[in-house]
Symmetry: C2
DNA sequence: TAGTGGTCTAGACCACTGG
DNA sequence: CAGTGGTCTAGACCACTAA
């Protein structure tokens, strides 16, 4: 396929785009296989290295995927556009932990059905709970009222949570450090809620005022939820911001 | 560096790990440069292709980054662990667009300072606004009251938003399709708010009840905010859920 | 077994960056 | 200008999968 003008782009890009055009055109349908690398070499009269570079760039955008001994499969006929939100650590989910202080109100053992929120697993399962408030430095009113539920075998970290070092970090981080586990996923649900009764008094807001309620479930190995937190924030003192960015560009 | 036993891993992996060990040890400090590719070839007695494969794998996990004509810089001494939330499209941000219907209440031209929310840019800048409600299929009460602000040059899509085809998708998708633009980022802020007056009546809730307020800014090329949406959801009819997952593992 | 992709070598030239 | 990483070739052997 001679070109009328000298194409200044790298050859692997030219190959990648030609293959992608064929895929979009349906010449290589989604679910089917691309020609072998040797055949692509022949067709474009380039070395195998160049072909592999082209296939790698297509694989990077989710269009093809190679399997050793089998071939290269067409997995999509369009660039997988993804919008992603990325955090350097789970603490960034909270957005305000820096410069805040935790005050512990109570520490107790409960069973799942006692909690005012739904805890995963058996209703009779035991959990260890910490109830507390969180203050911005220098502010007299708390920004959050929080309950933290932990599997009993990790409950010992609550001891550490009270001292100065433990106050600096979130409970999940203490658990990870002390018990050498890794948090695989965090699920988070945000709802609006009315702040009533004792909670209103603790947060120093009028009963019946609006708040943001955030429920987080921390999932470790084997899909086990080892920690659940429930926070209620007065509406004026907290908002939740996030930004998602477009991840990939055409090949 | 002869090994006591035959190492079955690919050479580029061995090279990558050796370099990563050096980086962690501080032999190649963060911010400094790695030896040149030629020097690495010599040190491990491998070809340049193998070295480049090793560097590519380190770049993939955010440890180094190469610059043409300069060298390879050490950008981090630890694997960039990231928690990411990923969306196949912006529509997934809303979590409920499927099976909902938009009802248009009003269409008007406004200037930024008229809006009850902060619009970016000049206070006197013109925007085109659509006010509406969104219903779950089969439910008599709306799940959301919404205002959509568009740059005037995209305002024509509001015409399409009313008909059946346009009702199926979000405004931003109509703009992308009709004006061939791409949304680079979306910023989203969630707050709790009290629903009062006319908004309460439209949403069929008691004045003074709690709601979730979601502000979204859609950013196109050149950091231009081309659309802003403001939605208010009654607390019982909507909650916002998300899940972030741990992204990367050691090389 | 034959055929695929995965790894690897030893060369080469080019494009970019800095002094 | 010299030196860097970016691209490319022509070969080779290996590891995996399916028939």
């Amino acid at each position: 396929m001679p070109l009328g003008f000298p194409d200044k782009r790298p050859r692997y890009q030219i190959v990648a785009e030609a293959l992608f055009d064929d895929i979009r055109r349906g010449t290589f349908p989604v679910g089917g296989h691309l020609p072998t690398e040797a055949q692509i070499c022949e067709r474009f009269a380039v070395s195998r290295h160049t072909v592999r570079e082209a296939l790698r760039s297509l694989a990077n955008v989710g269009v093809v995927s190679s399997q050793h001994g089998i071939g290269t499969q067409v997995t999509s006929d369009h660039i997988q556009e993804r919008y992603v939100q990325s955090f350097a650590s789970i603490s960034d989910l909270w957005q305000y932990v820096k410069d805040t202080r935790r005050e512990c109100l109570a520490l107790s053992d409960v069973v799942a059905s006692d909690a005012r929120i739904a805890l995963p697993g058996d209703p009779g399962a035991p959990w260890r709970m910490l109830e507390g408030l969180r203050y911005m430095s220098g502010k007299p009113e708390p920004v959050a009222w929080t309950q933290v539920f932990l599997l009993p075998r990790y409950g010992d970290v609550f001891d550490e949570a009270g001292n100065d070092a433990g106050n600096e970090v979130l409970i999940y981080a203490l658990v990870e450090r002390r018990h050498h586990i890794v948090t695989r996923r965090v699920r988070q649900t945000i709802t609006a809620t009315m702040i009533e009764g004792a909670t209103a008094a603790l947060l120093k807001v009028e009963p019946g005022s609006c708040g943001l309620s955030v429920l987080r479930e921390y999932v470790g190995e084997g899909d086990e939820v080892y920690e659940v937190t429930w926070s209620v924030h007065p509406a004026e003192r907290y908002s939740y911001s996030m930004e998602v960015v477009l991840a990939q560009a055409p090949p």
